[in-house]
């Protein structure tokens, strides 16, 4: 790593941690219904939303009601996204006259955006009308993120309440998350991004003349519109000259801002944040990358404030940061090392800081080079964001394994907004239980006794994603229809499938893009994987919230294991890595590990 590389990584991590406290404090005020300044402006909006929809904001919900309200709201959202895609051809804001999306792809995308995954089986600029992008996808970017935050806040209430049968009001948590946190941050970020060159317009795509025309071959079409074939059955090719370039534009900045902040990740364009009109400069890249981890990091502090002991929040943030930074320092050198297959060719892969980035540049943009592509890959998979600024399929085997493993850890190293932290709290519950067994202390966390019911629910949330990922991968590589979508040969082809299931089964959304996933088989398999992994985790977490809220608070005593110490941080990291390593090492050995060995021994 060059000194500039160190500097960029350090600047990123330090800025992130510096912002965690102020934003975390602000969000705690929002959820504790204190004045936050903005509510002088937006309180009338909030009140009228409640009165129009017949919500009494003072009314508390049991965990079961909270879960039903949440599921119903998300189901409605998925239905709306599905319908918008199916009827977009007949709806306004479709200047390119894009046609209706196929039913399987529309199902996949609806599941994808309602679950905060934002897996994309489609190419944005060639598939989705402006209306679908805004009213379908952007809306889900907001409300799926707000849903995750609501569940987290409900879980926190479980810890702070005693002998209570309620955990808050879902409608209020949802509305406040959207109105006071996600919308203002997105508005600011969107305008900063436009300043750097991200497009924001309702105009149709631009056609511009090329300086030098491009000639290419394409199959010749007959009078019936079908490709002509010669005597051998091969398509007849004709040479065509392209003198113009069509430049896709659209209302991108507003969507890009929330897709980064809400750990959504669904790009406006096909290549996501590698596209120069979605991520034009190193500064836009920094802002987008910072936004990936901003809210998940700050929520740790919010958690600390709300449970009345900020050290608890810092401890969890420390555990996340230690894993993140360690993996950054594996990822960047892996990509900087370049491709050994090029060593015998007349190619310069060395980095000469001011002249070229060097390294494995296939699928990477010049303005981001190695450092920012590798750093982004770690950040986007640590969080369940899944946006990309380079093509992960073209990463070196180790460079591709780190993002894959970060997803497989259950998206708890920062993770999704809300969902990352509630996932991590599940691991903390397991950690206090395990340490309780080891030293013979009654397990308790934040003053609540952890008993069989909580452990069962926590175990479900930790075991469902691996089941979906490994079961789904096994299914996909056993059937011909699953294998036929694989693009790269050998072990890397297996990695493509494993990556896809790891991404869908942990609600990340990034991809090894070579896999042709826009088929009825993968659209269905991955759609179901995303729904399982989101809602089969949400419901047990809410059940724990309800169970904890009903308990009394145990005073801290001699037998209490402190959960803010470096020892507990190490224990928490240990549990996360142990579960992740034991579950996924065999599968990783078949994919990236084999490929790495092949790569370094091939001459």
């Amino acid at each position: 790593m060059t000194s500039n590389s160190f500097l960029q990584v350090a600047f990123y991590v330090i800025t992130l941690l510096a912002l965690a406290k102020p934003l975390g404090r602000y969000m705690a005020n929002v959820y504790e219904d204190k004045s936050v300044g903005l509510n002088r402006l937006l309180a009338p909006v909030e009140t009228s939303i409640y009165s129009l929809s017949g919500v009494n904001p003072k009314e508390e919900m049991r965990w079961t009601d909270y879960a039903i309200a949440l599921l119903m709201f998300n189901l409605l959202g998925a239905l709306a996204v599905f319908m918008l895609q199916r009827f977009q051809a007949d709806l306004p804001f479709n200047p390119q006259n894009l046609s209706a999306v196929s039913p399987d792809s529309a199902f996949n995308t609806a599941a994808s955006f309602a679950t905060n995954t934002n897996w994309q089986g489609y190419g944005g600029e060639t598939t989705m009308s402006y209306l679908t992008q805004m009213l379908g996808l952007t809306v889900q970017n907001f409300v799926s993120a707000a849903t995750g935050m609501a569940v987290l806040v409900a879980l926190i209430r479980g810890f702070i309440r005693r002998n209570s049968d309620s955990i808050g009001n879902f409608w209020v948590d949802l509305t406040r998350s959207t109105l006071y946190i996600l919308m203002p941050l997105s508005l600011i970020l969107a305008l900063l991004l436009v300043g750097q060159g991200v497009v924001q317009t309702f105009s149709a795509y631009h056609t511009v003349p090329l300086v030098e025309s491009v000639s290419y071959e394409q199959p010749k079409l007959g009078a019936d519109g079908q490709a002509l074939q010669d005597a051998d059955g091969k398509p007849v090719m004709e040479s065509v000259e392209a003198k113009e370039q069509i430049i896709a534009v659209g209302p991108a900045a507003s969507q890009v801002a929330i897709k980064q902040l809400g750990t959504n990740g669904g790009g406006f364009f096909n290549v996501n944040s590698a596209h120069p009109l979605e991520n034009p400069t190193p500064l836009s890249n920094f802002l987008e990358m910072l936004s990936i981890l901003l809210i998940p990091a700050a929520l740790c502090y919010t958690f600390g404030v709300m449970v009345g002991d900020t050290r608890q929040g810092w401890a969890i943030l420390a555990a996340m940061t230690i894993v993140l930074v360690s993996l950054i320092f594996i990822e960047v050198p892996a990509e900087q090392g370049g491709n050994p297959a090029f060593a015998s060719l007349s190619i310069d892969q060395t980095t000469t800081s001011e002249m070229q980035a060097g390294g494995n540049m296939e699928g990477k943009e010049t303005r981001f080079g190695i450092t920012n592509s590798a750093l982004w890959a770690v950040a986007t998979t640590a969080a369940s964001n899944g946006s990309v600024n380079s093509m992960h399929d073209s990463f070196t085997p180790i460079g591709g394994m780190i993002p894959m493993w970060l997803m497989q850890l259950g998206e708890v190293i920062f993770g999704g907004v809300g969902s990352g932290l509630y996932g991590m709290i599940m691991f903390a519950i397991v950690a206090v239980f395990v340490s309780g067994l080891m030293i013979g202390r009654t397990p308790e966390y934040l003053g609540k006794k952890i008993e069989a019911y909580e452990m069962k629910m926590a175990a479900i949330t930790i075991l469902i994603p691996p089941l979906v990922v490994l079961g789904g991968t096994a299914l996909a590589v056993m059937v011909a229809i699953g294998k036929s979508s694989v693009f790269n040969p050998g072990a890397h082809g297996f990695s493509e499938v494993l990556y896809a299931l790891s991404s869908a089964g942990n609600n990340n959304g990034s991809a090894f893009g070579g896999l042709s996933a826009n088929t009825p088989f993968y659209n269905t398999l991955l759609g179901i994987a995303m729904l399982f992994s989101r809602f089969w985790l949400t419901v047990p977490v809410l059940a724990i919230a309800g169970s904890l809220a009903a308990k009394k608070i145990v005073p801290v005593g001699m037998g209490t294991l402190p959960t803010h110490t470096p020892l507990f941080v190490a224990l928490l990291i240990g549990v996360v890595l142990m579960v992740g390593a034991l579950t996924f090492l065999p599968a990783l050995a078949l994919g990236p590990v084999v490929e790495h060995l092949q790569m370094i021994h091939a001459k």
């Binding site: 009601d65 600029e125 436009v194 631009h206 920094f286 310069d348 002249m355 296939e362």
Partner: protein, 191 residues
């Protein structure tokens, strides 16, 4: 169950209007007022107001008298800005090595006397297929070829490349690069 249906539906509609219409509309209006050029795609126009490209979107160049950009994997032709795409070729895929070898041959054929190793970004495809930049090393590598094709002194081109090299943003963010379209338009304006 039923009692949650009404708030779910109305709240969904209200939040959809707020985040799906009002929010993007407000961003668009503000963006068009504050940053009209950027919001519309950083488009370039010639003297007569005709569109000639976007400063952020690369174009394909293959004539020896122009600087060439990154190889592009977009279909059906390179730098199709209507359908961005990467190659997605894995590092151990033989097709990647074959494609790279073919690109090396093309570069060598256009400039047989150049024995220097080729900067890696000049023979690998970009993530978007629309990368507007190449590294300064990749620009320098091509100077002799372009100079010969245009009957210009290499020193003159060195100066031009240097003038078009964008250093790291704020001094340390990202990587230095040369905007190929800008550089080539400047080349055409030399005469």
């Amino acid at each position: 169950m039923i009692k949650h249906l009404k708030p779910a539906m109305i709240l969904f509609v209200l939040l959809s209007v707020l985040t799906g219409f009002i929010y993007p509309a407000v961003v668009t209006v503000l963006a068009q007022i504050i940053f009209p050029e950027q919001a519309n795609g950083s488009l370039l126009t010639d003297g007569k107001g005709k569109l000639t490209g976007s400063i952020l979107i690369g174009q394909s160049f293959s004539s020896p008298k122009y600087f060439w950009g990154r190889p592009s994997a977009t279909a059906p032709f390179a730098y199709n800005a209507g359908a961005s795409s990467g190659s997605n070729l894995g590092p151990t895929n033989p097709a990647l090595v074959d494609a790279v070898k073919a690109r090396i041959e093309t570069l060598k054929a256009a400039d047989p006397k150049n024995e220097a190793p080729i900067p890696v970004d000049l023979i690998t495809t970009s993530g978007s297929g629309l990368d507007p930049h190449i590294s300064p090393a990749a620009a320098n590598y091509q100077i002799n070829r372009v100079a010969k094709a245009r009957n210009l002194k290499p020193e003159k081109l060195h100066a031009l490349v240097e003038a078009h090299t964008e250093s790291r943003q704020l001094g340390f963010l990202g990587e230095p690069g040369v905007n190929v379209l800008k550089l080539n338009l400047a080349l055409d304006n030399i005469h």
